[in-house]
Amino acid sequence: MATMKTLGLAFSAGAKCFRTRLGLDILNRSIPLVHCVSVRHKYKSSPLVSDDPGAYTGFEVSRNPEEWKYVQDLLPQPIIKDPAPKPEYPSGWRPQNPPADAPYFVKRTANHQLPVYMVRRGPRGQVLRTKVRYIQGDIWTLEEEIRAVLKQVYPRDVVQTQVNEVAGVIILRGDYVSAITEYLKSKGW
């Protein structure tokens, strides 16, 4: 249909030129400019497939708030909500349950995950660093604990750490994400 319309426009323009060439009055708008609808909104100007309403999928407009709840569940949420409390989660995720007497605090990320990351740097990502973020309070105690844990898990490794007290970040040389995550989880962080 759109093609036909374009052709129609082209035809009418061509007819105009033809008339001009013949010395006819251009301002005499006797040319039937039927197809002067913009071709941009193609779907609106297209004809219906069928005039019979029964040929289309039926629908009804509902303004029931009970039904609207199901629609709302499908809409994207603007804000990351707290997960619904359950005794156990299939992914193994657990909500934070911090120990009362710890001299430090490890904040969860906005996505409720532990802030332990592996960072790849250097040529072709060969340099591995483990980064623990969002540590508040006595960061040095946590560093000692992490070192002790890694000494147990990896007795042959020489664990090297870098502590940024202002930013609340501990960086370890090597990939220790799993061990540190497990340790923090076991402590309730």
Partner: protein, 291 residues
């Protein structure tokens, strides 16, 4: 109903949209709840619901003060969100924000002549061969005295860049935390003052040991008439709406004065951006065409 009436008395001029989150008591119930000593029969703000409550043991509170008398009256106490007002200030992030604010608006207009723009030099100064001299094609080549400049500055060069949104947010949070820790952050119920005399503001700042530079922040961009006239003739006292709050101005002024409504809006905005779902999209590279 009682609460809304009480709050209307507390903040008469503007902004009723967020007031329901402040809970207040009158003198009749003060003995049970309120740790604040009272002045007369005025209602007191005692607590505030915080979105995204924290469990890290940090808590910050601030007095709610008044501006309608030179002497300070404590109208109550509000909770401040620890993630905004109690973080360890990152001086590096504050500096990044300041540098960004100083630079992104700059356009370098320095320009020097290139070899094409220096007058003359179109003719080969001497023939290529036979003279025993070095080969030259133009007397305005960069190696010539009075020649053009190679790779010189070309105008206009914009210094525009965007800090990542989370660096900007952390800058705001760091600065607000630093201001609170240094006792330079004050919460007031409203910006209404009884007179438009600039001396009143100066006297008030002197009495309360504010300033000398004071930044008043309200949630609307229409300030009450008296304070607008009074602050207009004092160069170091300025009024700003919430959407204009920035790290540079907070550092430039010694004291930051927030209204309750402004505090509410600042917290709401910062918490929304730190907890929004599409944060990964926010981290995408900034394109000027996408504004």
């Amino acid at each position: 109903m009682l609460r809304s009436l009480v709050l209307r008395a507390l903040r008469p001029a503007s902004c009723f949209q967020n007031v329901a989150r402040f809970s207040t008591v009158t003198d009749t119930t003060a003995g049970e709840v309120n740790p604040v000593s009272f002045y007369g029969n005025e209602p007191k703000v005692v607590s505030r619901e915080l979105e995204f409550p924290t469990n890290d043991g940090r808590a910050r509170k601030a007095w709610v003060e008044n501006l309608d008398s030179v002497a300070e009256k404590k109208l109550g106490m509000v909770d401040l969100h620890p993630h905004i007002f109690a973080i360890t200030p990152r001086l590096d992030i504050i500096w990044q924000n300041t540098r960004w604010q100083m630079n992104y608006r700059k356009v370098n207009l320095t320009q020097v002549y290139s070899r094409a723009e220096v007058r003359g030099g179109g003719r080969k100064p001497w023939q290529q061969k036979g003279l025993g001299k070095a080969r030259h094609g133009s007397i305005r080549s960069p190696i010539w005295y009075n020649g053009g400049i190679a790779h010189g500055p070309r105008a206009p060069t914009t210094k525009f860049y965007m800090l990542p949104i989370h660096t900007r947010l952390l800058g705001l949070r760091s600065t607000l935390s630093a201001k609170l820790a240094q006792d330079d952050l004050h919460i007031v119920n409203s910006l209404d003052i009884p007179t438009n005399d600039p001396g009143y503001l100066e006297e008030l700042a002197e009495e309360r040991k504010w300033g000398p530079a004071v930044l008043f922040v309200d949630d609307t961009d229409v300030a009450p008439e008296n304070i607008a006239i009074a602050a207009d003739s004092i160069n170091h006292m300025n009024i700003m709406p919430v959407y204009g709050l920035n790290v540079y101005s907070m550092l430039k002024h010694d004291t930051l004065v927030l209204t309750l409504a402004a505090l509410e809006k600042i917290e709401k905005q910062i918490l929304f951006h730190t907890h929004r779902v599409d944060r990964a999209k926010q981290n995408e590279k900034f394109m000027t065409s996408s504004v």
